[in-house]
């Protein structure tokens, strides 16, 4: 069941109005296209929404579909704004286009790559998908900065993310290289970690640039 882009947008607006705005329905006047658009017919014929007295209401199946649409939208925002660094209006428009590509499991891949984000760049919650729940159940942290480790936790260095070449070289000289095992021994007042048989202390500015996987 693949919906048209407009249909998805209606579901998203409805979901935001109902789930986050606390309304019972959405006024189609608020959409940017005419109320007799074929997208409405598409949705009602699949029993995702119903229209009563000119207002749009969810059918139970539609609520789930809306949730997934909004999830795709917000994941797309995360990708464009955080990773590709396309911000502002431009980012918004591109995210709206991009979200429609995220079907057939592409959303799961993206969500995993982004390490199951909980909020969109505007701070609104991203409804968790199957993959998020599974990851949480398995306690799989994915790739996180060293600052997120608990003391005593051991992991593998995934990558170093820094624009500062000097920092990069400092860390590499300490043996912080992708593939090496690292143990976080203490997180406060400074981060202490062990690589091989050496221990190092670093501040949080350096620690947050080391990305590790459990």
């Amino acid at each position: 069941m693949k919906l048209s882009e407009k249909a998805e947008e209606i579901l998203e607006s409805l979901w935001t109005a109902v789930e986050e705005g606390g309304a019972a329905f959405l006024d189609p006047e608020k959409m940017s296209f005419p109320t007799d658009d074929p997208a409405y017919l598409e949705l009602t014929s699949q029993t995702l929404i119903e229209i009563r007295q000119g207002m749009i209401y969810f059918r139970p199946e539609g609520r789930e579909e809306g949730k997934m649409s909004i999830r795709r939208h917000r994941l797309a925002e995360r990708l464009l704004m955080d990773v590709l660094n396309i911000r502002g209006n431009d980012g918004e428009i591109k995210a709206c286009q991009f979200e429609h590509l995220l079907n057939d499991g592409a959303d799961i891949k993206l969500c995993t790559m982004l390490n199951h984000p909980a909020t969109c760049p505007h701070g609104k919650p991203i409804p968790p998908g199957e993959c998020c729940l599974q990851a949480r159940a398995q306690g799989d942290l994915g790739v996180v900065p060293l600052t997120e480790f608990k003391s005593g936790q051991e992991g593998e260095i995934a990558y170093i993310q820094t624009d500062d070449n000097k920092k990069m070289q400092k860390l590499m000289a300490m043996g912080v290289l992708p593939g090496n095992r690292i143990v976080l021994m203490q997180a406060y007042p400074s981060y202490i970690f062990r690589v091989g048989y050496s221990e190092f202390a670093i501040d949080s500015n350096l620690a947050k640039e080391i990305f590790v996987r459990k």
Partner: protein, 663 residues
């Protein structure tokens, strides 16, 4: 590689007057200086603290009849250098032609440190590898097949524990037998990287000491010094060379450094295979447990208090400044030595003016030597014993990480804890040590704080024994200093331009210090201190004597009297302040004299102590400041400190008068 053989020909060594040269290089805190001391019989300071050596030390040794010059270098992590000390170390490799380069590394961290061995071999240097600290590695259950390692690297490999004198003879033999590096292995990178290297190396025409292969890699890493070197040596060929380098670095801009490190890591892994084996389960030593206690705030802060209480207060303060000073100064000098020497001098020299020079009120012997030996020596000696001991345990890096968060507010990192603590011993020495801080900004802030608020041990000892007679005075004094430390620290972090520093530090294992090393280190520090101070004490005595007989001294005291009066002090204190120009501790000792004569009350004493502690650094410290920071910065700090010292004295005096505290 054969390149080194062609450069290190016999005739060249003969040109050097038949003295061969060996350079010791390696990561910080692997024992290069210990090896240096063992080979030369000289002494450079060693400790359990990364970055103890900040300068190149040179010494000589005779091995089987052959004269050698031994060069000890500051620690470096890689031949692609980042910090100032690393550059100093690499200078030796770049511009001098050592006959042998001894790479010293820590057996426990063989895997991490072998990357540099590969770089040295790749540079075509005549390398001998010393796998040091074997004793601790064995205790941890690590096994290292040195024979196999030697075979894989194609260079002599020696296992050692230099701190326990193990392996020294083998190193001597290896130096003596070293011929040339013909059978060194060539380490291959990936095809892509090899192509880049040969493209760059192919464009190089100039004569270099390091191999073109190594230099090509350094150029690709955008090493500024090497770029400059190439500019000088290449002439017309420089333009196409940089063009090529730019082209490749742009193509590989994403991750050149990382790719290179990972390739080297893989090389090392292949070498390590079969050479290194570790026990299944990590052995946790008692030292590691102690270390864990030292770095957790909950246990670390009480531990710091214990260290300070027993080390600084009980040992340096009560024992050094109390018991020992009482004994030497009062029992020996005042009761026995001074009357005797005065008698002797008076019977030998008939002229009263000359008598005054040696045994008068400000005489070289009765005042200069008495202060130096009777008061300053015991305090400084006990402090250096305390400091050296602590340094060798490996406690300081742990303290550094504990205070890093707080020091960040002052624009410093935890690293600055070493100069700060050392400052309580001798501010002059501490100002020199600020060199180990990474940025100029940190160095300037540390220099300001040292010259202003940190009292040196001599001052500290005298002031504590002075003020402890009046309850509350000590609290007011330390409160003032702490307040100024915080205010000035916060302000300079705000005002001085530059970005926030980053903190990183290797934590060496904690060890029980070796008595011998603590004693030697204390001894060399004392020696340095005395060479530095004794002439100044004598000079001060001479100047004061001159001032006295010419009447100039009286005039200076008279000139300073209004200043003294404005901060509520009797005019006699001017003498202490004039002494203070020569040495801060000397000034404090002058106050001691005044107090003994009963010339000052609690308020005056406290004001004088605070002003004097803050007041202009002693001449020696000022000279070091000038040397390290330059005239402009040193001058500015000097003026700032003097104004602040008298300003604070004035405010404190007013405050004490108004509140009636201490009266």
């Amino acid at each position: 590689m054969a390149s080194c053989c062609s450069k290190q020909t016999l005739s060249e060594t003969e040109l050097n007057g038949d003295v061969k040269r060996v350079a010791l290089v390696g990561n910080p805190n692997v024992g290069k200086s210990v090896l240096f001391n063992a080979l030369t019989g000289a002494y450079v300071t060693v400790s359990n603290y990364p970055g103890t050596s900040v300068e190149v030390a040179r010494g000589s040794a005779v091995i089987s009849g052959q004269q050698w010059e031994v060069i000890d270098t500051p620690g470096m992590y890689s031949i692609h250098t980042i910090t100032e000390e690393e550059r100093v170390a690499r200078e030796i490799l770049l511009h001098e032609t050592p006959d042998v380069v001894v790479h010293v590394l820590d057996a426990r961290n063989l895997e991490r440190m072998l990357a540099m061995t590969i770089q040295l071999i790749e540079a075509g240097l005549p390398v001998i590898l010393v796998v040091n600290i074997m004793d601790e590695a064995e205790r941890m259950g690590l096994r290292i097949d040195l024979k196999l390692l030697q075979q894989k690297l194609g260079i002599p490999v020696i296992g050692a524990a230099t701190a326990r004198k193990r392996g020294i003879d083998e190193i001597r033999t290896a130096l003596h037998d070293y011929r040339c590096a013909c059978d060194q292995q060539r380490f291959e990178y990936s095809r892509l990287l090899e192509r880049d290297i040969s493209e760059v190396a192919g464009l190089m025409q100039g004569e270099y000491i390091l191999s073109r292969r190594a230099l090509a890699l350094l150029l690709l890493q955008q090493d500024e010094e090497i770029i400059e070197l190439a500019r000088q040596r290449e002439g017309d060929g420089y333009a196409p060379l940089t063009e090529k380098v730019r082209e490749i670095t742009f193509e590989r801009r994403e991750s050149f450094h990382l790719d290179l490190s990972i390739e080297r890591k893989d090389m090392v892994r292949r070498i390590m295979h079969g050479v290194f084996s570790a026990p299944e389960k990590r052995v946790v030593t008692p030292a590691e447990r102690l270390s864990n206690l030292a770095v957790r705030p909950l246990t670390g802060i009480p531990m710091l208090m214990i260290v300070l209480y027993f080390g600084l207060y009980q040992f340096v303060g009560v024992f050094g400044a109390g018991t020992v000073v009482d004994f030497i100064e009062k029992k020996f000098f005042v009761e026995i030595f001074n009357p005797w020497i005065t008698g002797t001098v008076k019977s030998l020299i008939p002229w009263e003016i000359l008598q005054e020079l040696f045994v008068g009120e400000y005489g070289i012997i009765t005042l200069g030597i008495r202060y130096a030996v009777g008061i300053i020596l015991p305090i400084v000696a006990t402090f250096f014993v305390f400091f050296s001991f602590l340094e060798d345990t490996g406690y300081f890096p742990r303290l550094a990480l504990l205070v890093d968060r707080i020091f960040k507010y002052f624009g410093l990192t935890g690293r600055a804890v070493i100069p700060m603590v050392l400052g309580f011993g001798c501010d002059t020495m501490a100002t020199m040590v600020t060199r180990t801080l990474e940025t100029t900004r940190e160095r300037v802030i540390a220099t300001i704080l040292l010259s202003l608020t940190i009292p040196c041990s001599a001052q500290l000892g005298v002031i504590i024994s002075l003020l402890s007679k009046f309850p509350g005075a000590l609290a007011v004094w330390s409160g003032c200093l702490l307040l100024l430390f915080i205010v000035v620290g916060l302000l300079s972090a705000k005002i001085l331009p530059g970005e926030a520093p980053m903190f990183y530090m290797e934590l060496p294992p904690m060890r029980m210090p070796q008595l011998g090393n603590v004693v030697t280190k204390t001894y060399t520090r004392m020696q340095w201190y005395f060479i530095e101070i004794l002439p100044l004490f004598v000079l001060a005595s001479v100047l004061l004597w001159l001032g006295k007989i010419t009447g100039l001294f009286e005039k200076m005291v008279a000139a300073m009297t209004p200043v003294m009066a404005s901060i509520g002090l009797p005019k006699e204190t001017a003498v202490a302040f004039i002494f203070g120009f020569f040495r801060r501790d000397y000034g404090a000792a002058g106050l001691y004299e005044l107090q003994t004569k009963g010339l000052m009350d609690a308020r005056q004493l406290t004001v004088a102590a605070v002003t004097l502690t803050l007041f202009i650094p002693c001449i020696a410290q000022f000279l070091v400041m000038k040397k390290e920071r330059g005239w402009k910065v040193a001058g500015a700090i000097g003026i700032f400190v003097s104004l602040l010292a008298f300003g604070s004295g004035y405010v404190l005096n007013r405050a004490l008068l108004v509140t009636g505290l201490l009266s």
